[in-house]
Amino acid sequence: MDYAIETFSLTKIFSDWWGRDKVIAVDDLNLQIRYNEVFGLLGPNGSGKTTTLKLLLGLLYPTKGRSVILGGDGADPKINARIGFLPEESYLYRYLNARETLDFYGRIFGLPAKVRKMRIESLLDMVGLKAVANRPVGTFSKGMARRIGLAQALINDPDLLILDEPTTGLDPIGTRQIKDLILKLAERGKTILLCSHLLADVEDVCDRIAILYGGRIQAEGKVKDLLLQTDKKQIITSGLSDTAVNRIRQILRDEHAQCEVTSPLDKLETFFIKTVATAQEQAQPTSGAVSTTQIGDFLAAASSKDNILDKLVSATVSKETPMEAPKTRQVIPTEVPEREPDKDLLSKLTKTVEPAQPKPVIQNEKVKTEPVEPKTFEKEHVKKNILDRLTGRFTERDKHREQAEEDKSQTGDAGDA
């Protein structure tokens, strides 16, 4: 099987001036990232995440082992042409303005002036910096710099996107937008390697994760597999009368199971976005108004993002097809069955930021409870037949245990919409 990124006992030891080994940053790392996968590299500070990325990209040379990236070497310009990289901080030329910055990177890729111009405009739109495109990036806030950094990583419409802590310094809305963007890009067949210690971000977007500690992989696998609490069940419904609750309690008591009934809490992120959206609707005059309009711009761009990305993709298809054709053919048959359910779920999730229908967004968010408070169900043991008796209509679900979570969110959607 072909991997987008594969490392073979990759090791990096930093030595001091006398050549004595000081720090083992990456230790015998074997990483396999499939094509069209959103892979999260997690770990506490100093666990070797960034070093791994630098080794992959040829910014550092491994002490031992090697890595294969898109079937080649990470320092090879041909491979580089298909990679987008966002370093841990957006290291930009302070004296260039946003548009010039993107133009500079576009020219390094050797993009023709027309393509460059088109991509720059749509990227500026997408990251919401069109209004400040002529300001030197040295005057940008950290979040704005982050956005321009992300834009430069996308200028070549990369097949593989390597993002080192993409959401640091961004406000919650920006974070959300980046996460949505990652999902959208994944839908479009990009491979994304994400490096972060912000667990919420990783959890929302990643298909698979690996947790690094001391330069070694401590855990690796699908997010759902790793997080699934197989012995617990969660019921999410809309309005339920007290009698119904009592009856459920009765049934559960008969089953000798303990339960707790609460109203699910909103995610703070959702609440924040909701609040800002309300303020925006009322057009409250604040000094923060600048940022809210920016969000508006960006959200608008987000809905047209499809077109932009389509344009981006179509612009390079003819150029890159001959090189990629054999690979994609190999990948598709193996990946499709895995991706299918995800896509539905992701599109459902991403729909939430559609600005055209702000109200459904909020309602959806309210219901989308997912693993909101796992603690509330800690001592609850729900057997499957009870669930069936309760809901009646989900008999076929027995056959698809794996889809349980996804269906849950679907029922949630249906229930409240």
Binding site: K54, L57, G58, L59, L60, Y61, G74, P77, K78, N80, A81, I83, F85, P87, E89, S90, Y91, L92, Y93, Y95, L96, E100, F104, Y105, R107, I108, F109, G110, G149, Q152, N156
Partner: protein
Amino acid sequence: MRSIWAVATNTIRQALRLKIAAAFIILLLILLPVMGVSVTGDGTLKGRLQTFISYGLSLTSILLCLLTIVVSAYSLTSDIKQRQIYTVITKPIRRFQFLLGKLLGVALLDIALLFLFSIIIYGIAVFMPRFYNATVTELTEVNNEFYTARADLAPPDIDVSKEVEEVYNKLKKAGQLPETMSYNEIIKQLTSVTKLERRAVAPGYILPMLFTGIKPIDPNESLFIRFKYDVAVTPTDSQIIGRWQVGDYRQIRYGEKSDTPIYDATYKHSVRTIHEIEVPASVVPADGRLCVAFTNPPINNTVVFFPIEDGLEVLYKADTFTGNFVRAVLLICFRLVFLASLGILAASFLSFPVAILFCLVIFFTATFSNFVIESFNFLGRNLSSVYSYTVKPVIQLLPQFDKFNPTKFLIPARLLSWILVAKAAAFMVCIKSLLLLLIALLIFSFKEIAKIIV
């Protein structure tokens, strides 16, 4: 190529927008015109012009050299230190392309600035006579001795080694050799004495000297005999009368009839100062073999001789001032290219302040390269083999800015030949800069970009 160009333009932007170049540019833009107005030299128009061109070009050269060092070193080290290089080098650009882009950017910036300032200097130099209401004599003087490019020819070097050998042997037999001097030193001294004897004229005698390969660009222009008298006994009024004949060698020496006229004049000149006699260029025969004959009339009553260094030269107009100026600017340009490569090399393995220091040391050593080379030669003569295989090659690698100093040619309006320019190009650009660049490429290609060295 596109990526090289992208890096180059970005480097130029960096230099301009971060105002690294601003101080230098403003300083020059103010200083050059001020200098044009304020220089006086020795009070004459020629003096003003010479002072202006000397100070103007030297100042431009030194400021641009410093600018080059700063920009080339800063551009690369800041990219590494501020880590913009992470996002650039992970794009499809090879490391050598990145370095070449930096070099190209610095070189282009240099060339543009050099062009701008040399135009200003040229303009001021050419229009200066108009500002000063110069007299006709002064104008003729500057036309002949400043706004021109004169080739200079010294009389052919005579081989005196045989005579020297004889004298040496004679002295040795007589046991009169000084004991404190080495063989080489004795020979050296004898040679210079013998050579000087050949350039001495007793009263009543004539000294004909042959100059070959003289090719003035225009027969209507003038030749100049540039000379300095030295005498055995100084006359009471310190003046020497001399008869000068200039023309076809065969006619003066052997009395054969020639097509070209013979210049014949007698002058009175003071001793131990440089004088020039103007001779119409039409006296030069077609084969370029010119004879300059000096007759020492008996009335002088002393032996007259012409010092070896600058005793006698023939100057003739071989090119225009403009041509000479362009070549002078080219010499500065080569200097800048060398320094740009040096800056890039230093930045490829040093941090900014150290790189600057490194470059400045090389720059100043190169400016006084003659002195440095001679000092080392002097110190190294006792450990010849060790010296010639270790320090000497390294010293030879230094560029010789003083050897290719353009003002040395522009002030006395001497022809700066294309051959010299080509030599400078070959040594400074083709060999030394390329070598530096190759080393820089090697270092940079194998360097771990993201490695933090503490």
